[in-house]
């Protein structure tokens, strides 16, 4: 009997050890960031393409207020409510004084300065495809934004999802750093893929998720239930989105659909962001969307 208890205990301990090993946070390859200098002007385009302000500024912010990344917006989901943190350059409440590697770990690996996993409400499953120079440029731009001393509010996440260590397993299962649309792409399609899959993180809302919140890459961009439970994000594969490239460019510039309805909801943020990029980037996104396999 006692032998059975010992054996069970050994299995439990081994399992726990394995859990600790598999769930441990990983850092970026520091060598990739060694000596990189950020260019704030280029970083501004990365900032808008990445949609940082849409979640980290106040919900109704416009103009200069969009650059105050004090956090506070709430994102309800099946796992609880995530609250966007303060990522302004405030050294106490924000991320002022972080090194480039600390910043890169948060943005691309979902690992905070304290070494703990961050929740994937931060789309690091897309940002992990960013080139290190863009991460450096982004940091240079964000370092120059106004600081806010507003404290970050805690997430309201229920058990067991509030155990951050378990996110290590989630990452093992669902985080992928390869492109969804592979193969030989033209330079324009490649640029569009970079914007759509790495920066603008289209798939985070437009791709369905499984019960554990992992993206179903085989149904890429085929539409999904809104995380807050109200309505759906539309299917934008060529099976349903039959707009011409010019129509997509117009939509991402002015927000007008081909029927001249106008964009609303969270997508209105995305259009505001995309409208700040050069037109060639919007054309690239349109070219990329035509490559996506149709899903009905």
């Amino acid at each position: 009997m006692s032998r059975l208890v010992s054996a069970l205990l050994a299995v439990v301990l081994l399992g726990f050890g394995g859990f600790l090993l598999l769930s441990s946070p990983h850092s970026v390859d520091v060598a990739l960031y060694d000596g990189l200098k950020g260019d704030a002007a280029k970083g501004e385009l990365v900032f808008w393409a990445g949609g940082c302000a849409s979640c980290h500024a106040a919900a109704d912010a416009k103009g200069a207020d969009e650059l105050v990344l004090a956090g506070g917006q709430e994102f309800p989901s099946a796992f609880g409510t995530f609250v966007a943190p303060n990522i302004s350059p405030d050294p106490v409440q924000g991320i002022g004084g972080w090194t480039l590697v600390e910043f890169a770990n948060a943005v691309t690996q979902g690992v905070g300065k304290d070494g703990a996993h961050l929740y994937p409400a931060l789309p690091y499953n897309a940002y992990n495809k960013m080139v290190p120079q863009d991460v450096a440029d982004l940091k240079a731009f964000m370092d120059g934004l106004p600081a806010s001393a507003e404290p970050s509010k805690p997430h309201q996440i229920s058990f067991p999802f509030n155990i951050r260590r378990s996110l290590g397993i989630w990452k093992l299962l669902f985080v992928r750093d390869d492109w969804v649309i592979a193969g030989d792409l033209t330079p324009e399609q490649t640029r569009g893929r970079y914007i759509a899959e790495a920066l603008a993180h289209c798939g985070e809302c437009h791709t369905p998720r499984n019960a554990l919140g992992g993206l179903q890459r085989s149904a890429w961009l085929s539409g999904a239930a809104n995380p807050d439970g109200k309505g759906r994000t539309p299917n934008i594969t060529p099976a349903k989105l039959t707009w011409s490239a010019a129509d997509v460019v117009e939509y991402l510039t002015s927000g007008f659909t081909p029927e001249f309805d106008s964009v609303g909801g969270h997508m209105a943020h995305v259009v505001e962001n995309m409208a700040k990029l050069p037109e060639s980037d919007r054309q690239a996104v349109a070219a990329y969307l035509q490559l996506v396999p149709p899903v009905n």
């Binding site: 416009k62 129509d247 001249f260 309805d261 106008s262």
Partner: protein
Amino acid sequence: MKKRLIAFTTMAALTAFGVYAQDAEDPFADAVETRHGLMLQMASDLGTLGGMAKGEVAYDKATASKAAANVAAIASVISMAQFPAGSENGKSADSYALADIWAKQDDFLAKITDLNNAAAAMQTAAATDGDAIKASMAQLGGACSACHKAYRQPES
């Protein structure tokens, strides 16, 4: 037989009352229909301008100017008159209007002013050329979506 007649009469009465009750409960049907009509006419005129902006249709000054004048006229009509308190999503059939319209009425009205300014800019652009229309489309679209982002319940 008598029982069946009573049941039938009750059903008929309930049905009639139901229909009546539905009408009585939705005094905003006209306001909502007016809003949608204004938006549809706006979309039609924007379609004329958008075709020229995208280069799908050749620029024609008279046609563009007429469409832009219509957009400006519709923008000037939009006011709280079409948004009586209570004509909101969930309370009035077919309404996508969010309750914040009334809670943040000053901001809502400011966004209508923005729309009128953008429509005036489009009138100038429409008298110029297709490129000017294209450039003006972004400002006009921004005015439309600013309001739709804050005050319209997303579809689907």
